[in-house]
Point group: D2
Chain length 352, copies 4
C-alpha cells in the first residue's frame, strides 16, 4: 500500500536508503524447484553497479547480494526469498550541506512535504540506489522465465538517436560497448558525447528500448491490468522516467486504422506488429517492444541557486560523483522490471 | 487479481460486456458524508456516450446509471456504492459473422487464446463500452476531490496537432465543440478531417492531453507506486492507448539537466515545470500535465481479409457503426481515470 | 481495503443495504469454461432466504438473483460475473423509531461513530441481508469445485448439543428438517425450543459445524494465510459469529502431544485426525472440520431501555419480524464462505 | 499472495527458515516521525526467545534484531523498515534423519506435497521460529499505538485453568513468573506440571488470553474485514493455534439474547461487555478480549513410528530440544499479532 511492493503473484518488496547500512528485499511467490544460478544474478547486478565504466557515476560499491532464505540445495523452495545488499560506502560524504536545502528537481522538497522530514544522505530512499534490489528480483524472474528473452538497449542519448527498429539490429552487441547501444558506430558517438556532458558537470537524457521475445500468447488481465499497462507502470516507476510507449506508440496516434491493423497469417501470427505483441491488453505471441524516456538526472556538478527549508535563497555547489547520462545503467533495470511483469502474468495465467 | 479492480483505498470493481444485459460496478472506500450530485454524474456519462455527435459511433444507448447502495439521504454512507447501466441496445445486431473469425488488431484472437472462448457480441468484455463504469466512478471521485480541477482535451488527430502548451489555451472552451479541442480553429479542421476519415470507413488515431490543477503536494507512494506510474497505468488501461508521457515527456529525454531542472521560487513553487508537478514520484503542488496517445481503432467499415478459428482465410466486411476517431469520447475517460488515481492517493495520504 | 471484498484469486466484492433498492456483487477471477447451473445457485439462495420456515424471520423476499455478465452460452467466460438481488420489501416498515437511538448489541452505535451517520433502515449495511450475496458467490465456487463436498449443519442451539462427531452422523439428513440438524430426534427438540424462544420474543445462540471432504492436499499459504486462518476469518466475518475452532479445537488445548499427534498410514493418510485436515496451514487430504459459534442475535420483540444519539435514555419496543435462532439460516452461509476459501486456495495452488 | 505478508496499510512481509542464515522482514506503511525505542523492541524479542527459562526449548539463540532502513535520527521516516535476525545456531544439529521421513502432525508431509521438496532442517519455514519477525513488527506497532494497552497471558495449560475473567486479575503480574500466568498460585502449579510433561518428553496444549484496552471506537471494516475477523485470522496464523473466540465466545452460543445484549450507559459505554468491545465488526471503545487455543506441539522426545517418503514404516526418535508447552512463549506473539491488527485498522480509519 505504501508503495514498496511490486507484483501480485510474483511479488517483490524492497527496502533501503542510499546511505543506510543495507538495502534488501523479499521475493514472495517464486515457485519451488527452480535451480537458481546465483552467479548470473550477481552478474546482472554488476551490469547496474556504479563505477563500472568511465561514463557512469564513480561511487564505489561492490553491490554483493546475499541470500537469506527460500533457496535450499540450489533450488527455490517456494518460501520467500530474502536478500540483502550492504552499503559499504555509506559514510564517505558529508551531506550536511543538503540537510536543510532543497535541490531543484530532486525529491528533497516532496519528501519533506510528505513525510515531515527525510534521510537526506545521498537522497535517502529516493535515490536510484534502490533499483539494485529490482535487478536482483528481476534476475530471479528471468531464470523462472527460461525461454523468454528480454533485451533492453540504449536507443537515444540527448538528440542522438538509433533510428532503426529493434529487428534491424544485432542485439547480441548490446554489451559490447559501455553505452549499451547495439550499433557500434552510434555507440561511439554517444560515448564521446556523454563524456563531453560529464566534462561540463551537466547531464543529458536518453531512451532505453526493450524487446521481449517468446512470450506465450495469453498473458495480461483486462480490463485494468492490461499487460502494457503494467509494463508502463513498471517502467514509469524507475527513477527519472518521463514516458512510455509500446508498439506503434506515439507515432501510432498519427496513423490510419487501415494501415495500423495487423493482418493475420494463417498460423495466428501477424504480418505487421504495430500492436507491439499485445491486443486487448493480452499478449498475442508476437514480439513485445517498447520505449522508455529518461530525463537528464538532476544532480549536476555545477553552481546553482536554490532555497532552504525556510524559503531563503542559498547558493549550492553540486560536488562529488554524478551520472552524466543514466541510460547505460538503466538498461538492466528496464530488463528487470520487464521480467517482473512477465513473471507475474505468467503465474496468474496458470489459473486459466 | 483478474484485473477488474482499480485503486487501493478508493477502489472500483467493474463488470459487464458490450452486449450483455447490463454493465455495473462497485466503488468501495469512498468516504462517508459526501453530498453526491447525481445529475453531474449522469452528465459525465453523457459526455462519453455513443451517438452524442456526428463524429462518434452512432450506437444508440441512453447510458442511464442507477445507484443501488452506499448513498442515503443524498450523501455517501462509507459503505460500497453499487451501480448499474443497462444495455438497451444489445440485440440489434447479428454477430454470427465474427463468431468464428478473428478481426485484425482486435482482442478476438487473444481472448480466445486466453479464455478458450469468448462472448463475441460487440467485442464482449474487450469493448470500450466498459469504460462507462469508469466514468461513473471517476465522477464520484471528482466530487470527493472538490477544489482539484481535472481537464482533458484533444490535442492531436492524426497529424493535426494543437502545438501550444496547456497554459496557453483557454481550457473553458473544451466543450464548445464536438472534437473537444480548446482551439476553435484547429477543432474545426479536425472535425472536417474526422468526417473525411469516417466517409472512407477508416479510422485515425489521436492525442488526449490532460492537466490537473490544485493537487496538494505530497501525493504518490514511492518507490513502485509513484504518482506518475499509477497515472501511466491508468491511462494505458484505457482501450486503444499506446503511450503516456508527463511533464517534459519524451522531449525531456533530449534535454540537458541544466535546462531541465526546475528552479525554486521562495514559496516552494518552481519557475519552470518540466517535472510536470511530480518529483520523486510525489506531487509538488505544481500543475500535473500529461499526454496520452491513442491508436486508430481497429473497427473499419471496409472489406478485409482475415482468418477464422481454424486458420482459414476468410473475407470480412466491417459493417454498422464505427468510431472514426476515438479521442473526443476519450476525453471524459481520461479525466475519470485521472480522478480515480488522485482520489486514491488523496486517501492514502491521510495516513501521513 | 474498505472491507467489502473477499478472496485473492477467486474474488468477491459485494454491496447493498437491507432496505436499499438492491444488493449485488462481482465475482472476479472465476476461471472460464465452467458450466453454471443457475437453478442450483438459486436453490442455495432459497436455503438462506427469510420466510422459509416457521422458525426463521418472516420477512418476505423472493431473493431472486439476476446475472449481468461473465456468463455466455451457459458457461463462465473468465470475465467478471456481476449479479443483483433486488429488495422487494424495502418500504414495508417505518424505521424512524430507530433513526436516532442505538439498539443494544447492534451496530447502530459503532456505525455512527465510524461513519458519522448511517442508513438506519433495517440495519443498513450491517444487516445479515448482505450474506445473500455471499451465498450466490459461494454457489458459483461450489460448482467450480466439483468433487469437493462442503456440508454444514446445526450442532447446537442454546445448551442443546449434538454431541456426536460428524463422521457418526448421516449428513444426507441435514435438509430433512427445518433446523438443519442431521439427528432427527435432537432436531425436533431444537425446533420446539426455538419456537418457545420465539414465543417469548427472545433469541438464542447456537453452533454450526462444517465438514469439507475431498480437498486435495496442498491448499493453504503459510505463514500468514494458513488454510485454517482464512477459514477462521471467513467464518468470523459472518454476522453474529463469536468463535471458530477446527480439528481438535479448544479441546485440543487440554491434550498431550502423545495423544494428539496423528500417526500416518502408509498411504499418507492419518489414523486419527485431530489436525482437522490441516497441518502447517496446508491441507493434508483428510477431512477438514470446524465449529462456528453464533451469539443470540440482538433483535428482540421485547420492551427495553436504551440511549439516543444525545445520550438520553429512551424506551424502545422491538417489533415486527425477528430471527429467534440464526443458525438454521446460517448453514448455507457457512458453506458458502467455506467454498469461497477453498476456491481461492485451489486457484492459488495452480502456481505450484 | 503467497502468504508471507500481513496487514494492508501497516504491512509486514517476512522471510526465513529455522536453520537458514537469517530471518528478516520489511514493515511497509509505518507512518513517519515515530520515535522508536529500539531497546524496547529487543526486549519484546527476548520475551519470545528460546532458552529464556526452564520450561521452554533450550535452543541457544541471541535473537538480536538489526535494522537496515526506515529509521533516521531515531525516528521512523515513512519509508520501509527492513530488519534481520541472524540464526547463530543453524548448524548444531544433524537433520538427515528427518530428511526423508514425515513426522506426525508436523508440516513435513504437507510441505512436500505442496512444494515438491522442503528445507527439512528444523522444520524450515514451518518452524515457529518465523514468529520472531512478527514480534519485531508487533513491537514497532505497539510504539505507534501509544496509549493502547495489549496484554496477553496464559490462562490454561492442559486441564489446568485460570477461570477468572481478565478484569478480576492483576495483569501487572504477567511477567512475574515464567509461565506468564498472572495468578501466582496457579502459575506455580502450571510450572510444576509443565516440568513433569517435559520430563516425559511429552507436550501439552494451553490457552492464551488477551485483552486490548483503550482502543478508540470505530476500528474495523465491515463486512468481510471485521475487526474480530482479522484478529481471528491473525491468531489462527500463529503456529499450533486451533481456535479463537472473543467476547462471550463459544459460551455466548448457549445464551439468550435478553441476557447477552449489552445495555448502554448514557456515555455510550455498556453495562456488560459480552460483545467483547466489537459490534458489527467495529470497535465500540470497550475492552476487546479474546482466547486463543494452542494444541500440544508435535515434537516429542519419545520413540515413535512413522512413514518415509516412499510410504515405508520407519522408527524415529525425537531428540534434542523441545518446547513442552508452547503458551508461555506464545504470549508475546499473541500481543504482537494483536498490535499488527490494531495498527492496521488504526491507519485505515484515518480515511474516515
Amino acid at each position: 500500500m505504501a508503495g514498496n511492493s511490486f507484483g501480485k503473484l510474483f511479488n517483490l518488496t524492497t527496502y533501503g536508503e542510499s546511505h543506510g547500512p543495507a538495502l534488501g528485499g523479499v521475493i514472495d511467490g517464486c515457485p519451488p524447484g527452480i535451480e537458481l544460478d546465483l552467479e548470473a544474478i550477481q552478474e546482472e547486478l554488476d551490469r547496474r553497479k556504479p563505477g563500472q565504466s568511465a561514463i557512469v557515476t564513480q561511487r564505489k560499491e561492490p553491490d554483493t547480494v546475499k541470500f537469506h532464505s527460500g533457496i535450499f540445495e540450489g533450488k527455490t523452495t517456494g518460501t520467500p526469498i530474502g536478500f540483502v545488499i550492504e552499503n559499504t560506502n555509506q559514510k564517505s560524504h558529508d551531506y550536511t550541506h543538503i540537510k536543510d536545502s532543497y535541490r531543484p528537481s530532486h525529491a528533497d522538497y516532496t519528501y519533506d512535504v510528505k513525510y515531515g522530514f527525510r534521510d537526506y544522505r545521498g537522497g535517502g530512499r529516493s535515490s536510484a540506489r534502490e533499483t539494485a534490489c529490482r535487478v536482483v528480483a528481476g534476475a530471479v524472474a528471468k531464470q523462472m522465465l527460461s525461454g523468454v528473452e528480454i533485451i533492453a538497449y540504449v536507443s537515444g542519448v540527448g538528440n542522438m538517436k538509433l533510428d532503426k527498429p529493434y529487428n534491424k539490429l544485432d542485439l547480441t552487441k548490446v554489451e559490447s560497448n559501455i553505452v549499451r547501444c547495439p550499433d557500434q558506430e552510434i555507440a561511439s558517438k554517444m560515448e564521446t558525447y556523454i563524456k563531453e556532458v560529464r566534462g561540463k558537470g551537466d547531464t543529458v537524457g536518453g531512451i532505453v528500448s526493450c524487446v521481449i521475445k517468446n512470450v506465450p500468447a495469453g498473458l495480461g488481465e483486462p480490463v485494468f491490468d492490461k499487460l502494457h499497462a503494467e509494463l508502463g507502470k513498471a517502467m514509469l516507476s524507475i527513477n527519472a522516467v518521463k514516458g512510455f510507449e509500446y508498439g506503434s506508440g506515439f507515432h501510432g496516434s498519427t496513423m490510419y486504422g487501415s494501415d495500423h491493423n495487423d493482418a493475420f497469417n494463417t498460423d495466428g501470427s501477424t504480418k505487421t506488429n504495430y500492436s507491439g505483441g499485445i491486443q486487448g491488453g493480452i499478449s498475442n505471441g508476437m514480439d513485445i517492444y517498447f520505449n522508455v524516456a529518461f530525463k537528464p538526472v538532476a544532480t549536476l556538478i555545477q553552481e546553482y541557486e536554490t532555497i532552504d527549508k525556510e524559503g531563503k535563497v542559498v547558493q549550492m555547489h553540486g560536488k562529488g560523483r554524478h551520472d552524466p547520462c543514466v541510460v547505460p545503467r538503466a538498461v538492466p533495470i528496464v530488463e528487470a522490471m520487464a521480467a517482473l511483469v512477465i513473471a507475474d502474468f505468467y503465474l496468474i495465467n496458470k489459473i486459466y
